[in-house]
């Protein structure tokens, strides 16, 4: 129970700090970096929902991020559509493509799925790179408009953009929180745990996996659309595998399959990368081995590691209490348990 409170506290703390952050700093650069971090978090949540909660590692999510971004870019710049219409449409396009890809890709499992999605991601990248009449190829799409304002609210300053992105991020966190703590979320975790077992308790694994896949591509698409409207310029590189590996790093550092992992991991890695300055292009000299070490020693990242330590301490306390009780109620069983666990 305290673990849940813990999780809730981290989120509340995050909400409070992120709300006041632009008020305490006047440095627009910091606000810029923070906004980008929030945008990535949304994509990382998408990856987490799929890889963390159903166990399917998709390496095509940079592709879906790029589809969201290019969807918005092409619809506004080339089709001259109004911003929010293009925004909604680009999400629908991403979701629809996610549905089609999911129907095929989810027939395969484990490494087949990972390889399949890695190749699919590459196809998406290559199509963006080569289909010049639509995407402008390597030249990139320039002049993507900032989000349209609602009445007096405008999104032209860094600060207002920051709050817009934060709004979407909080929405995503709320959705994630509710899904993970619902019966649907329990079904997803059952699938990750053992697909065979999930089937025998009557869970339609195919339908659940497809739902999760589409939703996670929607998150990636949302992240991409927000990126395009924030950075205002996009090139094929945003669909490159380097992007998915960055997202994966944020997720693994924070904690895959945890609710607060994407928040903590993304913030930490992005700010650490900022500190590296000129060394930034070589950041994987540090984060690459970190990724490997975490998977070996703390597979559920910082959040999972802290939870485990906390739980172990609680268990020890409980055992001390239980040990006393057992000694005169059920000495036989208690002693046996202690030998096994201790």
């Amino acid at each position: 129970m305290s673990a849940v409170l813990n999780k809730r506290n981290i989120i509340i703390l995050f909400v409070l700090v992120s709300l006041v952050f632009p008020l305490i700093t006047t440095n627009t650069y910091l606000i810029h970096v923070m906004t980008l971090a929030f945008i990535w978090m949304i994509g990382v949540y998408g990856l987490n929902l799929l890889a963390g909660y159903t166990g399917y590692l998709s390496l095509a999510h940079a592709g879906f991020f790029a589809i969201g971004a290019y969807g918005l870019g092409i619809l506004t710049v080339k089709a001259h559509m109004s911003f929010w219409l293009a925004f909604v449409l680009s999400l629908l396009i991403t979701g629809l493509l996610g549905l089609i890809v999911g129907l095929i890709a989810l027939r395969s499992k484990e490494h087949f799925f990972a390889i399949y999605t890695l190749c699919l991601g590459y196809i998406i990248y290559l199509v963006i790179d080569k289909w010049e009449s639509l995407t402008e190829g390597v030249r990139g799409l320039i002049g993507i408009p900032a989000p349209q304002g609602f009445g007096p609210i405008k999104f032209e300053t860094e600060k207002s953009h920051y709050y817009l992105v934060l709004f979407f991020l909080l929405l995503v966190i709320l959705v994630m929180y509710r899904i993970v703590h619902s019966l649907s979320g329990r079904s997803f975790i059952a699938i990750r745990n053992s697909e065979d077992l999930a089937l025998t308790i009557g869970i339609s694994t195919a339908r659940n996996k497809l739902t999760v896949f589409v939703l996670s591509t929607l998150f990636a698409g949302l992240s991409g659309a927000l990126y395009a409207s924030f950075v205002r310029f996009i090139g094929p590189d945003i669909g490159n595998t380097a992007v998915i590996f960055d997202m994966l790093t944020y997720l693994i550092v924070g904690g895959i399959g945890t609710l607060t992992g994407p928040l903590i991991g993304t913030l930490l890695v992005i700010w650490l990368s900022q500190l590296l300055q000129d060394f930034q292009q070589y950041r994987m000299l540090i984060f690459g081995p970190l990724l490997t070490l975490l998977v070996i020693f703390y597979p559920r990242g910082i959040v999972g590691g802290v939870t485990d330590i906390y739980r172990k301490r609680m268990a020890k306390k409980e055992k001390q209490l239980a040990g006393k009780k057992d000694s005169y109620i059920q000495s036989d069983l208690g002693a046996k348990n202690q030998v096994k666990e201790g």
Binding site: A51, G55, L57, I104, A105, R107, S108, K109, E110, H111, F112, A114, I115, Y116, L118, C119, L120, Y122, I123, L126, V127, K130, T241, F245, L248, T249, I252, I256, Q281, Y282, R283, M284, L285, F287, G288, P289, L290, L291, T292, L293, V295, I296, P299
Partner: protein, 287 residues
């Protein structure tokens, strides 16, 4: 007609390189059942080490390749010891992520050490020869011949020597191999060594006609994955046949379909295979 024959020969060259990379990948998959996403990084390291040995230390091409085989083979063994061995009981998602971590590290390492720019590798076999009216470079002929020799040697090693047969035994049945007293740890290390060595050879013989750069392994490894899915994960003949199939379809596709999209061809083949049969071609039925 000339173009066709020229392209068929190109397909043979590319296919030889793919087959060598795919062989290393499929050997490791056969033994440990892990898709080694870092295999492309081993290929890239192979290219750089040969290049460095030649340019910095003035070694002869063949000696440089030999050093490269040893070094990359050793990196492979280190990977097995430090990363995949500790993870052998973990859920399958973890060794993939760990491999990606290694891949990212090695690419950043190469960029840090050798720079991000594309480098060309000098080869003593730059001369052009005419064979049956075809204009070929010696290097391309060398790629095909060297690849075939390596494949024959590998096959002899696996079939005719005791050590080689332990690799086959273990890929067929790990528990069984353990029971009959095969040292599975040693076999796993050896397999990684061979796998790294094959990647180094492939990179070193193809680098003179391509280029050496930190991301040179990315596309090759993706295609190698397609190849071993095509040929059956863990199958040695499958990797060779698959390598040539992809090599030919690419070189022909580049000429007759579109040069821009030639890299996509392999992935379309994959999409079709996995759409029809989600567990890959030639996978064992039942479980």
């Amino acid at each position: 007609m000339d173009i066709l024959i020229q392209q068929l020969f190109n397909g043979l060259t590319i296919g030889s390189v793919y087959a060598l990379v795919a062989l290393g990948l499929t050997l490791v998959y056969g033994i440990l059942h892990i898709p080694n996403f870092a295999h492309g990084a081993l290929y890239m390291m192979g290219g750089y080490i040969t290049l460095t040995m030649m340019t910095k230390f003035g070694l002869h091409y063949w000696i440089a390749i030999f050093v490269s085989i040893i070094v990359v083979g050793f990196i492979g063994v280190l990977m097995e010891r430090l990363v995949f061995h500790p993870l052998r009981e973990s859920p399958p998602i973890q060794d993939k992520i760990a491999a990606i971590g290694i891949l990212l590290f090695l690419e950043a390492f190469a960029q840090y050490t050798w720079g991000a720019e594309y480098q060309s590798m000098p080869s003593p076999y730059g001369q052009v020869v005419e064979v049956f009216g075809l204009t070929l470079t010696m290097q391309r002929i060398l790629i095909v011949v060297a690849a075939v020799i390596v494949m024959i040697l590998l096959n002899l090693f696996l079939r005719k020597t005791y050590t080689g047969s332990t690799i086959i035994a273990m890929s067929q049945n790990r528990e069984g191999a353990n029971l009959v007293g095969i040292n599975t740890t040693r076999v796993a290390m050896l397999t990684f060594m061979i796998s790294g060595g094959l990647a180094a050879i492939a990179a070193s013989i193809s680098a003179p006609i391509n280029l050496v750069f930190p991301g040179m392994g990315q596309l090759v490894i993706l295609k190698a994955f397609v190849i071993i899915i095509l040929g059956g994960m863990g199958s040695i003949p499958g990797a060779i046949v698959g390598g040539y199939i992809i090599g030919f379809s690419e070189s022909l596709g580049a000429t007759y379909i579109s040069n821009d999209y030639k890299d996509i061809i392999a992935f379309f083949i994959l999409v079709i295979i996995l759409t029809v049969k989600p567990t890959g071609l030639f996978s064992k039925g039942g479980h």
